[in-house]
């Protein structure tokens, strides 16, 4: 049995099994839950990386679970896009898993086992969403991810209960809309396999049922990714969660949903169908523009850094949806690249913020005075993430902005270009406030005597993932050309 050939399913089955293992083990010894989780995540990371290498060398993989042929069996389809996203998911999951040790110990010491189990299950859900090639299977995995994420988010205490409940209702509505859409598709095409459906759609493109399915799926996914005007649930849900959960959910949930919408829009319905339905006054890019502006505007008024970051996420979702609806190769390249870039940058920011919250107990801007002296490494990592959000070269954020702006110019969507520039400016203002307070907030002495402010840096288990994420932001930026040529061009080339 060739391990390499089985890698795709290993990526899913291994963490699934270890989730159960963690539950069992933590009944006896709580202390083993964390190491087991980290081990699982490392193995998963290796598996996804192996899959990525295999895809680069050999092309897309179609893996049939238990060897049942589609359209009845479930197929895992791993092409360059899913491999990339899967690697990103596993990296972030691994970093957060390492990070989780101290904070979970501090915040929820008596439910450690449950937490790690849910954490691994959620990762499985996300990976599954990425790898599956079956539309209904995708719904199942959406629900798995959502339910585990509701539970994870609710760990945050009393305020989290309300926000999570809010998210639960809206998320379920979204998932139901998606399910309805898949139902229509099944009625019309008779198949649930994505590749299968894709071959059947062109013949049915005039059908109103297919159109309804398209809209339902689109809107359902938009609700789940907090695309304007469905963004209301995100700020509260992510702000009130514990810092570990925010660091896990914020980079991944919305981005994987964006991935899913790319998969469905471009690979199932096809770009010809999708764009032909939206000629005339209705233009999704305009919604994206509003999303960017609204997200940036609300971020400006926040006094709490965590909340501010959640509004920035809303703007970033606007970037990605706008990019994929521009209708040209560069725009889609920008969106795909931004999935990876934004996931890493958001992870970096939330991990750094989590470390600061762990040490300071607060994430308000006004409490950040002089934090550079107390936690220099963490703060510098935060700055790297901030530079990425603003779009300063050579961070990854600059390259995605370059692609998206170029795509906007080529498509003649000037409002989108202006919105991107305005958002960069707003991000610069937002993060500058934090920089200003962090570097120079506290009064200290003149040049001659170096007043020794107590260095109170975060523990190593939190520092390591934070610094790694920051390094990845820059490394991803520096290796942009590799990423585009090896991965993205293969994806985009086949579509345009």
């Amino acid at each position: 049995m060739n391990i390499a050939a089985q890698l795709p399913v290993i990526v899913l089955v291994l963490p699934l099994l270890s989730a159960f293992a963690v539950t069992l083990v933590s009944l006896f010894n709580k202390k083993l839950a964390w190491p087991l989780t980290v081990l699982t995540m490392t193995a998963t990371f290796l598996a996804t990386t192996g899959t990525l290498c295999s895809v680069i060398h050999n092309g897309a993989i179609r893996y049939r679970v238990a060897n049942w042929a589609p359209p009845f069996g479930i197929e895992l389809v791993i092409d360059h896009l899913s491999a990339l996203v899967a690697v990103v998911i596993s990296i972030v999951a691994l970093l957060v898993a390492i990070f989780a040790k101290e904070t979970i110990q501090k915040d929820i010491p008596n439910r450690v086992g449950q937490f790690y189990t849910l954490f691994i299950l959620c990762t499985v859900g996300l990976l599954g969403e990425t790898l599956t090639g079956d539309a209904f299977n995708l719904y199942v995995l959406i629900e798995i991810t959502s339910l585990t994420s509701y539970a994870l988010l609710a760990f945050g205490g009393s305020r989290a209960y309300f926000s999570t409940f809010n998210y639960l209702i809206l998320g379920t509505i979204g998932a139901c809309l998606y399910l309805l859409g898949v139902g229509y598709l099944y009625i019309k095409t008779g198949s649930l396999n994505m590749i299968d459906i894709a071959t059947l759609i062109p013949a049915l493109s005039g059908s109103s049922a297919i159109f309804t399915a398209f809209i339902l799926i689109l809107v359902g996914l938009w609700i789940k990714m907090a695309f304007f005007p469905f963004h209301g649930w995100l700020p509260n849900a992510y702000t009130h969660a514990t810092s570990t959960v925010s660091a896990f959910a914020a980079p991944l949930m919305t981005k994987v949903t964006v991935y899913m919408s790319i998969r469905l829009m471009y690979f199932v319905f096809g770009p010809d169908y999708a764009f032909s339905q939206f000629t005339g006054p209705v233009n999704i890019v305009w919604l994206a523009v509003i999303a960017i502006l609204v997200g940036s505007y609300y971020a400006l008024v926040q006094t709490d850094i965590k909340r501010m970051l959640t509004y920035i996420i809303i703007a970033e979702v606007g970037y990605m949806v706008g990019g994929m609806w521009l209708g040209n190769a560069i725009g889609l390249t920008g969106t795909i690249y931004h999935i990876a870039a934004d996931a890493i940058m958001t992870a970096c920011l939330f991990l750094a913020l989590g470390s600061i919250a762990y040490k300071l107990g607060s994430t308000k801007i006004s409490d950040m005075a002089g934090i550079f002296k107390k936690m220099p490494v963490t703060f510098c990592a935060f700055l790297v993430g901030a530079a990425g959000m603003i779009g300063i070269p050579p961070t990854a954020g600059f390259f995605s902005k370059w692609f998206l702006i170029s795509g906007g110019i080529q498509a003649g969507q000037w409002a989108f270009v202006v919105a991107l520039l305005v958002s960069s400016l707003v991000n610069a203002i937002l993060f500058f406030r934090i920089i200003e307070v962090g570097f120079f907030g506290a009064d200290d002495e003149d040049e001659h005597d170096a007043v020794v402010v107590q260095r109170n840096e975060a523990p190593l288990s939190m520092l390591l993932p934070t610094v790694t994420a920051a390094a990845l932001v820059i490394l991803l930026g520096l290796s942009t050309s590799k990423v585009t040529s090896l991965l993205i061009e293969n994806i985009v080339g086949s579509l345009f």
Binding site: F162, F165, N166, I169, L170, I173, L177, F211, T212, I215, L216, L218, V219, I223, P229, F230, G232, W233, G280, P281, V282, Y297, V301, A387, I390, I392, P393, P394, F399, W402, I405, S406, I409, Q410, V417, L421, S424, L425, A428, I429, F432, R433, E436, F439, F440, D443, E447, H448, T480, S481, T484
Partner: protein, 564 residues
């Protein structure tokens, strides 16, 4: 076959990154050594060298060392040596580190062969220079730094938009002269003009530079504005609109400067004023004009830094920067006074100093181009510079009643730095030939420029005479009408009003608008529509309200998409 050489920027950036890990005087030593090595490296560069990097599907060359770039490289590094000598007693890692990174970024921008490389270093310059303003740690400097970064990020984004448009349209990333008047080149021009402090984008400079630390001010005075002048000299030579812009800058600097009380604000307006000459030179566009602009930039960096150094020393010794509170310092700070005089005479184009042999080339080019009124206006601006710096500043600082009788002279290292720059100003003024040889331009133009002492001071003696005539009249007018200039303490309104007050008003306006939309839609949907749809919703707790409105949004968007 181009040889692979690391750009000089890397040396400075490396030094800047190392500084926080070192302690004490070693930091200053590293800084000075880095600057000296940088100067040596620049002197050894030639146009065969390159440093290509692959990104974004392009080959980005980070090293293009032609004559124009090398001249700026020389003066940037030389000024850096002097600046770090001046800052010898300073140990704060943030200031030294930021200064090194900032100078490195400026060098990177000057030597970049294409617009992408230029943009990367442009952004780097903005974020490193703001640290020098923040380092002062007063409330007003924090606020000024916020405005500074706002202006520079906005300018950088406009530049980025122009660059991307240009690259999309032409497919080439080469940074060379822009010839077509279209959106992309206008956007790029605006991006450059913001950094050059051209009116109407000038108000950030007098707002931010005086708020920097003493050392920070010395470093800031040279690089951002002159890098922008370099980019104009490369990209927009001969664009006629630059002439009126430069003229306005030159006059604006004097008129506002004459109203000012703070000595470093006066110098900031002087930077804008001098920049105006160079912008006009770029606008005129002939080879002689470019040489004029570049030599002027070379000289200007040196005497401006000198003036910021001396005023910085005065502020340090007396504790105030307010002209009304200072006076008669010639007695207690004789060396500083002497060096200030050198700098002031240099900026005023006095004979034997650098302004005389450099600014005059620009004016000669304008004469050659037969532009009468621009010439008159620049002549007036030039006299105005003497009025502002030579007379108002120097007389106010050094003559008259002693305000601070017991102040100490500036520290040794500061005096050494000032001396170095003064010597350079004198050298350029007395024997400008070596400078002229460095200039870009054809053989014909260069050979027409005469730079030996006899050429300048004997063959063109009339020039000396007319200059002295102008200066003597200006001095007389100053002493006669000095009371005309007295004014009470005030802030001068400028175009930055737009983003200081205007933005606040528009922000609160948007907020009111949004919250009223929110309230009204809430009132309409939640209080009226929903209860009619389902009676139970009225009795459910608060958490249902946001859910309800979100659900409604979903329904609306869904129907809209399905119907349209």
């Amino acid at each position: 076959m181009p040889s692979l050489v690391l750009p000089p920027a890397f040396l400075f950036i490396l030094a800047g990154v190392l500084i926080p890990f070192l302690k004490g005087r070693v930091r200053n030593l590293v800084a000075v050594v880095a600057a000296i090595l940088g100067l040596i490296q620049v002197l050894l560069l030639n146009s065969d060298m390159s440093y290509p990097v692959h990104a974004l599907g392009f080959q980005i060359d980070l090293l293009r060392a032609d004559k124009l770039a090398i001249v700026f490289g020389i003066v940037f590094t030389f000024n850096a040596v002097a600046a770090f000598l001046y800052g010898w007693v300073k140990n704060k890692d943030i200031e030294l580190s930021s200064a090194l990174l900032y100078i490195g970024a400026a060098l990177g921008a000057v030597f970049a062969a294409d617009v992408i490389g230029l943009y990367i270093f442009w952004e780097l310059m903005a974020i490193t220079s703001v640290m020098l303003i923040l380092a002062r740690k007063t409330e007003s400097s924090m606020a000024a730094a916020k405005r500074y970064i706002l202006v520079h990020v906005a300018g950088g984004l406009i530049l980025l938009a122009g660059i991307i448009l240009h690259v999309n349209a032409t497919g080439s990333i080469e940074f060379t002269g822009f010839t077509q008047l279209n959106t992309s080149s206008i956007l790029i021009l605006i991006g450059f003009l913001v950094n050059a402090a051209a009116v109407p984008f000038a108000s950030w400079l007098p707002d931010a530079y005086p708020q920097a630390t003493i050392f920070g001010g010395v470093v800031l005075s040279a690089y951002t504005s002159k890098t922008a002048i370099y980019t104009l000299m490369r990209g927009f030579v001969g664009w006629e609109w630059l002439i009126p812009i430069g003229l306005v800058m030159a006059i604006y600097g004097i008129v506002y400067g004459l109203m000012e009380r703070d000595i470093r604000r006066i110098l900031a307006y002087a930077i804008v004023n001098q920049g105006g000459f160079m912008v006009v030179a770029a606008g005129v566009g002939s080879e002689l004009a470019v040489i004029g602009g570049v030599t002027h930039a070379f000289a200007c960096i040196l005497y401006t830094a000198l003036l910021w150094m001396t005023t910085g020393a005065i502020i340090k010794s007396t504790g105030t920067s307010h002209l009304n509170k200072l006076g008669g310092l010639a007695k207690s700070m004789p060396w500083t006074a002497a060096f200030t005089l050198v700098g002031a005479l240099a900026i005023s184009s006095s004979p034997f100093l650098s302004g005389f042999t450099t600014k005059s080339i620009t004016l000669a080019a304008i004469e050659q181009a037969h532009l009468f009124w621009p010439w008159i206006i620049l002549e007036i601006a030039s006299i105005g510079t003497f009025l502002l710096i030579g007379l108002k500043l120097c007389v106010g600082l050094f003559l008259g009643k002693e305000s601070h009788p017991n102040t100490t002279e500036a520290q040794g290292s500061k005096l050494v730095a000032m001396g170095v720059l003064s010597a350079a100003c004198l050298a350029i003024g007395i024997y400008p030939e070596w400078l002229y040889h460095l200039m870009p331009g054809s053989q014909a133009t260069l050979s027409a420029l005469h730079g030996s002492f006899s050429d300048v001071y004997i063959h063109h003696f009339s020039h000396v005479v007319t200059q002295l005539q102008k200066m003597s009249v200006a001095a007389l007018v100053f002493f006669l009408f000095a009371p005309l200039l007295r004014q009470k303490d005030a802030i001068l309104l400028d175009l930055d009003w737009l983003y200081r007050i205007g933005a606040k008003h528009s922000y609160s306006g948007i907020k009111k608008c949004c919250s009223s939309i929110n309230r009204n839609s809430q009132a309409f949907f939640i209080d009226k529509v929903l209860p009619n749809c389902a009676i139970r919703i009225k009795n459910t707790p608060m958490v249902q309200r946001p859910v309800g409105s979100a659900a409604l949004a979903i329904i609306i968007v869904l129907t809209a998409l399905l119907v349209l």
